[in-house]
């Protein structure tokens, strides 16, 4: 008869079987998510029919890169759970669709600082710049580190297109061909589709930086501008006023 003791006394066998057991647990949880249709909500503007959640514009994308490089996620999560206290503090709970173009997603559960899923529009650009350079000048009790170099470092643009092409490979709908561009026009509308065109990426980025004037410095495009542009778009893509309160329950 098979005895459990056989496993317990053979460490090689124990390791292999442990790995098998853990993998089954993981695979059963993860793989089906890719096949369940309801996992990611279909969020369309009821008026125009366009998809509300769009990939980041080139400037926002570079901001996201800097967010990851600086390890902001070690202190900030980006997911508002569907609980009353979170709703009161941060706003509407996060949708799966809202992070579908994030690679990797920034959900997290470590909240040394507040959740940032809906920080877009909460503060002015000036506040963000001031706060990134010296957090304690605006929030005296803050323990967030200073990031003064972001305001001085020029944003590197040379690899912008490569970054977008890489994301395109994992399913983010940036466009390279006319057909892909046309498809984006159908999905997101013309204005958005233009910002997703890899061929125009550099011009799009410079135009957004100049128009947004995120750091009050027109002389050069800094990493700060990209980061602030990214922070200002977080959680603003879906206009929840256009949906009934209970609309998103059907996706669960």
């Amino acid at each position: 008869m098979f005895k459990h003791e056989t496993i317990e006394t053979n460490s090689g066998l124990l390791i292999v079987l442990t790995l098998v057991a853990i993998s089954i647990g993981g695979l059963v949880e993860i793989i089906p998510l890719h096949y369940i249709d309801e996992t990611v909500e279909d969020v369309r503007d009821p008026d125009t029919g366009f998809e509300m959640v769009r990939p980041y514009s080139p400037l926002e994308l570079r901001g996201f890169d800097i967010y990851k490089r600086e390890g902001c996620y070690t202190c900030h999560s980006q997911m508002i759970r569907p609980f009353r206290d979170e709703d009161l503090r941060y706003g509407h709970y996060s949708l799966a669709a809202e992070s579908k173009y994030d690679h990797p997603f920034q959900w997290g559960s470590k909240r040394t600082g507040p959740d940032l899923a809906r920080v877009g529009g909460k503060y002015s650009n000036e506040w963000h710049v001031q706060h990134m350079i010296a957090p304690r000048s605006v929030v005296p009790e803050s323990i967030m580190p200073n990031y003064p170099w972001l305001a001085e470092t020029e944003l590197k643009l040379s690899d912008l297109q490569d970054r977008m092409i890489a994301l395109k490979k994992v399913g983010v709908p940036y466009s390279r061909t006319t057909a892909e561009y046309e498809n984006n026009v159908k999905r997101f509308g013309e204005a958005v589709a233009k910002t997703l065109d890899i061929n125009l990426a550099e011009n799009t980025l410079i135009a957004q930086a100049n128009q947004g004037n995120y750091d009050g410095n027109k002389a050069k495009i800094t990493e700060m501008e990209a980061l602030v542009a990214y922070l200002q778009v977080l959680g603003t893509m879906v206009d929840f006023d256009k949906f009934d309160e209970e609309h998103f329950i059907q996706f669960r």
Binding site: Y35, I36, R84, E246
Partner: protein, 307 residues
């Protein structure tokens, strides 16, 4: 492998391993209570699978027998399988705390401001609920007590207002936000003219100023060269419609005059503001706060500034 043997003293089975001549390892079976607990957890998972969303099946998943009933926007009852979004919806509609809060919010929404201030119950609600939202949404700029940061974010607890102190005016500030703007005069004035206008501004609030320069400055202030009067009025008392500061009082919101000791430093601080202009923004909160929450905040600000 060592051979299992019996411990001579207790008669218990050992693994047969011996260390330091006599140290041995018992090979007791798991305690019964532990084994039964283990079986109980297995039974629990089966019940859990039946009650809650669990196993994936083809393009969907088992929804479980547990349900939640909530009210839709249209006022109809709707029942769905258990999930946290529906749970939140129901909690917001029927939860004890949520209902209590809603009751107060409805009361505040219907009452005029004077009544909110006088009714101790409502005033206490405004103080605690207002404090909560202010901490979350406003304190990062206006600071926890509302005292602001000179130059960056205005003080909300003094009785000096850029955009007006009436509830309608403050409501407008919160709903649509404000852009505080004054043009830079770098190109317009030469050094002398800048000095003269700044001296005039000093004299407006009774600070020590060079009289001769101030007289010339007055002409610039009230004339087309400076055009300061467009926004600050000819008397320098400011204008709510433009959010232009009152320059005749002792309160400073952009130029940090009170922090400077000597007259020269005060003058320099004023010159900097006139030379560089001002551009600062109060964000719009209409999409973040409900109308009633904005009303609570207006009443809360009234409490803070002691009105």
């Amino acid at each position: 492998m060592a051979k299992p043997v019996k411990d001579p003293l207790t008669g218990a089975k050992t693994t047969g391993h011996v260390w330091d001549e006599t140290l041995q390892e018992f090979d007791n079976p798991l305690p019964r209570w532990w084994v039964w607990m283990f079986y109980a957890t297995v039974v629990f998972t089966i019940v859990y699978w039946l009650m809650y969303p669990s196993w994936p099946v083809a393009g969907t998943y088992l929804k479980g027998f547990n349900t939640i009933t909530y009210e839709t926007d249209a006022g109809e009852e709707k029942t769905t399988h258990w999930n946290t979004r529906a749970l939140l919806q129901r909690d917001m509609q029927t939860g004890t705390q949520a209902l209590k809060q809603k009751e107060y919010l409805t009361k505040v929404a219907a009452a005029p401001y004077e009544q909110i201030a006088q009714d101790p119950d409502m005033a206490a609600f405004v103080r605690s609920y207002g404090n909560g939202i202010f901490g979350d949404k406003c304190a990062a700029c206006h600071q926890a007590g509302g005292q602001g940061v000179v130059g960056l974010f205005p003080n909300l607890v003094d009785d000096d207002w850029l955009w007006g102190s009436k509830p309608e005016q403050i409501t407008e500030t919160l709903v649509n936000g404000r852009n505080g703007f004054m043009p830079p005069y770098r190109e317009t004035f030469n050094d002398d003219q800048l000095d003269q206008v700044a001296n005039y501004v000093m004299s407006l609030s009774g600070l020590e100023a060079n009289k001769e320069a101030a007289v010339k400055g007055e002409q610039i202030f009230k004339g087309e060269k400076g055009g300061c009067y467009y926004c600050h009025t000819s008397e320098g008392t400011g204008m709510y419609a433009q959010g232009a500061a009152n320059l005749t009082d002792k309160i400073w919101t952009v130029a940090n005059v009170p922090a400077k000791d000597s007259a020269e430093e005060k003058l320099a601080a004023i010159k900097t503001v006139i030379r560089d202009g001002i551009q600062r923004q109060m964000p719009a909160f209409s999409s973040r706060l409900s109308d009633t929450e904005i009303k609570v905040l207006v009443a809360y600000l009234k409490q803070l500034s002691g009105e």
